[in-house]
Point group: D2
């Protein structure tokens, strides 16, 4: 039996004349691309180019859906009514699905972005809106969310497949949540340490919390970044260490064990 | 054998708190709804509500795709590069497809809106972009365009189904094009005259041009408006006269003869 | 000595091809127009038309500044950082100032709109951002806010002129806040009752709370609506009763006592 | 008597999380900053930061006004009606004026951007709209345009001050227009050649056309770019050669001879 885990990253986050991140580099590292759908980033021709490259690389495509807040990059909490949020999510999924069809690939999962991601991790009202949106747009789509967050249980209870993710460069509390970015030590910068932690996560299903506690953490995917040269190097190192130690990097939609 | 023709109208053209036209009235008159996709009008929850009502009424749904120009309502010519235009069209089609899926219906055709409609009637460069977009998003979608315009031949040559439409309230030149809105007599206001003209079109396949010439005009659909109470009355009268005279009002996607 | 009070209403809330409210009617009733600045509503040419009409009528112009949320009409709370919010407010004030200059008038006050209005009534962080924005854009501008709300004291402490407003059609709690729209009786529909309440407010500086308590309420301005024929009638009735009883309707910027 | 010329560059062209160009570097080179106003680029807090830095550096600020086309970066021709265009320009000027006031500086000129720049160079209809917009917003603002283009004469005839500019890295036709970017040799890459050409322009008022002809070209300002490290180096070299040869780099608004 071969061990495997998914690696995912945010891609297609340019907009018109503006670029962000090194999509080409990341597409050679990750197995899943969270592709912006136009609400926080991404214009149609840029998105199409991204999903074409993902298709060529055999990288799975997820809909990186967001609040409608381009100038805030989807990072600002918004009090969007559930019916509006659900329709926004359906709209974004569909737009990406058609662009994927044109590129010869398809959307296999949905990952809410930024403030929406954080809000629905806990908030039932907006979370149910996202779940119902996915079910009504395409119930075969999985929902990607924070490992251990209530949203994943809600989604599973509603009949959706789920993908739980861990963050490669983030510290964890003893209870398995992320240490807030406002606290010191919340973000890890040591490339080798990060790679070793992810290896332990993939093989043993555990991660060391910020206080030294060893936690069980079930994660289907590892989230890595590509927004700086250093981030790309970290992602590459995680992939290298995992594959060298026999952990295959495979998209959730393509894994069988 | 039963005669039939399609009637289409622009719907779902509100945006957020703003409304436009009497969608409910028009859905009881037409057989096809050209639904805004968010680029000139339409926000996701408003579009979803419109396609739900269309589904309940058995009205076919078309993607009313536009240049990205909400403040100009898609009425301003834009020099959009073909690759950008194609991606914009795919994006809009997909967004509407997913909202239709959520509403239990589907998109069956594409009708470019406003300035895009006028530009591609003749312009090969943007026209080919729209055709290629439809083919790559979903080649089963038909393209609706101005009866007699070169775009319909281009689409047919490219393997797309086409829907040719006539405008109920517009005068025609002897060569079969629309009389420009800048010229007097270009827009018809006599409800009964309009209804009789459409009856003649449906039964005999002819229409009288502004100079009295009788033209052959092959039209699969009649475009009517719903943006004023008078417009709704005209649309209703066209439907009434046609059905009373044995011409069924049936969406192109549902017609067999 | 002549008693006087200001009447204000939200105007210029169309967008491109979309209209909202009866601006022409309201400009013959109110003394102050809260004009949308493009973030929740209003496009430049529509705003210019509104301020031209306001100038012709001698109606004072206020900048109705909002969160950047056109599709949500500025009604959704957003967690905007203070530096971003301040810049957004300055931008909107300036845009309206230039359109007013082109129309031969000027902006005399700022009224935050929708969710921003509600948030800053209490929230010090966003409130200070709005206050600092006004001071840095043009410290001669007054801030209009809910009579009795902490924001007005904060603005005054910062050296800004303030305009406290009462809502003609809203019920008040015994502590002088608005009864939530979710509770029954929160919105008043009896035109004559509303007019009498506003007369009492203007002459005696008191208003009857929902439980019958008579409150002291210092209000410089009365907010009325123009978004429906009934709303316009109510506004007109308020004006009529006030002027018949000797209370002049005068913009705050033009009042001397 | 000291010779002097202005150097201008496009700045403030980020948007939200997206950046573009090296504003800090360019502010140490140029005397005038064409600052985006939100229609093709620039969000309020980013614009405010740019004009604060310009104020600190003593760099003059111009309003870089555009068609409303963020996704197309204002580079796509749009058939905007003159009344809409004029209002769009006023809106943008005012927004920038208020942000400048908050930063302790002011707008001294207007430079249309991208497709608008190219269109009004020749097109009288849109050109007159821009001229009337500037006059009605603030008639003390100068209009910056292509040296020799009809728009500058139109603006002068209408009573506006004008700033004629030459492009440092572009080849000229014998008739004094720019060689189209589609033709080979249209863009110059040799840093020293470019600097020598600009020196000749500043001192002798002449420039060598692509066919060798020596043209008279009256230019008040030299346009340089900052969108790549190479572009910044070219701009710096132009400044160095000019100042070493006794040509001061001074904003038009600050020059007296």
């Amino acid at each position: 039996m071969t061990l495997s885990i998914d690696m995912n990253s945010d891609l297609g986050e340019g907009y018109g004349a503006w670029t962000m991140g090194d999509d080409a580099a990341m597409l050679s590292i990750v197995s899943s691309a969270n592709v912006a759908c136009g609400f926080h980033a991404g214009d149609p021709s840029g998105i199409l180019e991204t999903v074409r490259q993902a298709a060529q690389r055999g990288v799975a495509v997820g809909a990186h859906v967001s609040y409608p807040d381009r100038v805030g990059f989807g990072r600002r909490a918004m009090d969007v009514a559930p019916t509006e949020l659900a329709a926004d999510v359906i709209y974004q999924i569909g737009a990406l699905q058609a662009l994927c069809a044109a590129a010869g690939t398809r959307v296999t999962y949905v990952k809410p972005h930024g403030a929406l991601y954080n809000t629905i991790a806990e908030d039932a009202r907006q979370g149910e809106a996202v779940i119902s949106a996915i079910k009504s747009a395409d119930p075969s789509l999985a929902l990607m969310g924070l490992a251990g967050a209530p949203i994943l249980k809600r989604a599973a209870d509603a009949g959706l497949a789920t993908i739980s993710e861990a963050f490669a460069d983030r510290a964890y509390t003893p209870s398995g949540t992320l240490v807030s970015r406002r606290e010191s030590g919340s973000v890890l910068h040591d490339v080798n340490l990060v790679a070793e932690r992810m290896l332990q996560l993939a093989i043993e299903g555990t991660i060391q919390a910020i206080d030294g506690t060893v936690l069980r953490l079930q994660a289907d995917s590892i989230c890595v970044h590509g927004d700086s040269p250093g981030a790309v190097l970290m992602a590459a190192r995680v992939r290298q260490v995992l594959t060298e130690q026999g952990v295959a990097i495979v998209a959730n939609s393509k894994r069988t064990g």
